[in-house]
Symmetry: C2
Amino acid sequence: MKPLTSGRLAAAAGIGNEKLRFYEREGLVAEPPRTESGYRLYPPQTIDRLRFILRAKALGFSLAEIRELLSLQDGGDKAEVHRITRSHLEEVEARIRDLQRIRDVLADLESRCSRRGPVHTCPIIRALADGNEILEESPR
Amino acid sequence: MKPLTSGRLAAAAGIGNEKLRFYEREGLVAEPPRTESGYRLYPPQTIDRLRFILRAKALGFSLAEIRELLSLQDGGDKAEVHRITRSHLEEVEARIRDLQRIRDVLADLESRCSRRGPVHTCPIIRALADGNEILEESPR
DNA sequence: CTTGACCCTGTACCTCACTACAGGGTTTAA
DNA sequence: TTAAACCCTGTAGTGAGGTACAGGGTCAAG
């Protein structure tokens, strides 16, 4: 396969040209060689690198984490990969717990609110106004 | 109780002065009367309004949703309160499902990665590089 | 040889919810 | 009376992850 122009590479990865340039600025994709006239010519493996990025994003890794994972990909420390994954997993689990707490409160309030009558009798509004049964911890 | 200056009100609600001004600009807190010299003088009930805002935030409502809830608080439609809560609840539930899917993939990959050996044999890196067992749906 | 599709750089803008000044004026306690 | 502590306005910056031009240059088909 031959080198790809930025447009072809972006299309092959299913992203836009600007996003590709953004990833280059962010150091996720290496600066490719250029033609005489300044056009970027990407080696075809860059598609795999982009796919790697997109999959990691789908798993909720931040671009900073992805940058780390990429740097480990070719000859890094397995324990490091582990550490990053573990840390991300813990964050995800914490976020799930936060959201479940929120969901429980909301579901409870909702179920206890009859759809009729004056609004100030609504448990949702009352809970917000009076503060009973609402929690201290912060969601992100 | 007497009217409060912005600093006292902010302190009473446990927030900073600038945040208070921000909420005023955003229409969550009404513009209070002023002294001759332009100082804001808040009616003491404003503390309750701020607490309402903070509680709703703790439940993950956006400022736009909170603005709606506040406007319904004094004489709105109960069905509307319901609608907003329901819609937020559904969002929270969707987010939980996304994160659980992510958690499951991460936990599985992590458990299958021995901490030794070359990095390219690590299922985490392999999954990202080769794309097997990763999902299509996007998290937000 | 012209037209349109492509590529370049740089900068500005988007969302969300703040946060941080700069450059003043006012109030209060010692 | 003077210094600290407070208040005002307006504007700009943060972080994350992009998106959208403007104002050019280049390449391929007809």
